[in-house]
């Protein structure tokens, strides 16, 4: 199973990615600047190297990220971007998405938690490789209510 889904606040856009062994997540876009990806569980092949443990990989300018699950267990990695950085955001998302990320706050935010928070993403994962596109990002930003 492979899947990627983003979460944002006014400063950060983070994409949580999951791959099972042998599966690949591809980003079909790149940036003209580097950005950080942090592996938090498992083992993956990225940029021609195997990454293990809790470690950072620095995606290089113009590199389309491609990560394949290695080892025998599921792997998770997080891709990190500054939502308040015009240079990166202009290459990733639309003006409408930029505005939503920088201004959105749910009605419950001052109370701390929504009444019925989502408690797992597990059912949303599907089998096979996954290509994470800008169109998917747009949809996820538009639909996010932080719950």
């Amino acid at each position: 199973m492979a899947y990627a889904r983003l979460v944002f606040n006014t400063q950060t856009l983070a994409i949580m990615n999951m791959v099972d062994p042998g599966e690949t997540i591809n980003y079909d876009w790149s940036l003209d600047e580097d950005y950080s990806v942090v592996l938090v569980e498992g083992s993956v092949t990225v940029g021609g190297n195997t990454l293990t443990g809790v470690n950072e990989y620095r995606v290089q300018p113009d590199e389309q990220l491609s990560v394949t699950g290695a080892g025998s267990t599921r792997s998770y990695f997080i891709s990190l971007f500054r939502a308040d950085d015009d240079s990166a955001m202009d290459q990733m998302v639309s003006e409408a998405s930029k505005t939503r990320m920088r201004t959105f706050a749910p009605t419950w935010i001052d109370d701390g938690w929504p009444d019925n928070p989502v408690t797992t993403w597990e059912p949303e994962f599907t089998s096979g490789n996954h290509t994470y596109t800008k169109a998917i990002m747009e949809t996820q930003i538009a639909n996010s209510e932080w719950d």
């Binding site: 979460v7 606040n9 950060t12 950005y35 809790v54 997080i78 935010i109 701390g112 989502v118 994962f125």
Partner: protein
């Protein structure tokens, strides 16, 4: 036992905790380590393994059980100040449970994160003066705290009965 690893990436401070056993405290954000100046700071939290039970403190200062969260999951919440009350996550299963938090890099030395990161002066200097440079905090945090899964109270190990009497000790305490 809880172990933490902290990495300053290009733009963010990455705080990752893992616990191996049921009842292990994963993270405990108290009123003491909420920094008022971070009142509007939001944090992204994720779970990459395990079943994690959340507790929060009510208006009377008592822990209340909230919900169980099962990895994988990621969400945005207020971390400090505002309407946020002290909260605690506890490992709810007989397996590893891991939680991570992501904040903008400039907040690495504020509130809860200032209390819980062991960055040396040299590492702090690098983080502040070389904002694009990765810094892996070399001294990682290790804490042991277990909590009751119904009340969130700290579990104090039961005292082992001691059959030795004062007379048996036969200690000369002097005058």
């Amino acid at each position: 036992m809880r172990k933490a690893k902290m990495i300053a990436t290009k733009d963010h401070f990455f705080f990752y905790l893992t616990t191996p056993d049921k009842n292990d405290e994963i993270i405990n954000i108290t009123q003491d380590n909420i920094d008022p100046k971070d009142a509007n700071t939001n944090v992204l939290t994720f779970f990459s393994s395990g079943n994690n039970r959340r507790f929060y403190k009510d208006g009377n200062g008592n822990w209340q059980k909230h919900l169980d969260f099962v990895a994988p999951l990621m969400f945005a919440r207020k971390a400090f100040g505002g309407g946020v009350t002290p909260m605690c996550f506890v490992n709810n299963d007989d397996s590893k449970s891991s939680l991570g938090q992501v904040i903008a890099r400039e907040h690495y030395d504020t509130g809860f994160y200032a209390d819980n990161n062991n960055a040396s002066d040299g590492e702090k200097e690098t983080m502040e003066n070389n904002p694009n440079q990765t810094v892996v905090i070399s001294e990682q945090c290790s804490v042991s705290e277990k909590r009751n899964l119904e009340t969130c109270e700290i579990i104090i190990p039961e005292a082992v009965p001691n059959p030795i009497t004062e007379e048996d000790l036969n200690i000369d305490w002097g005058e």
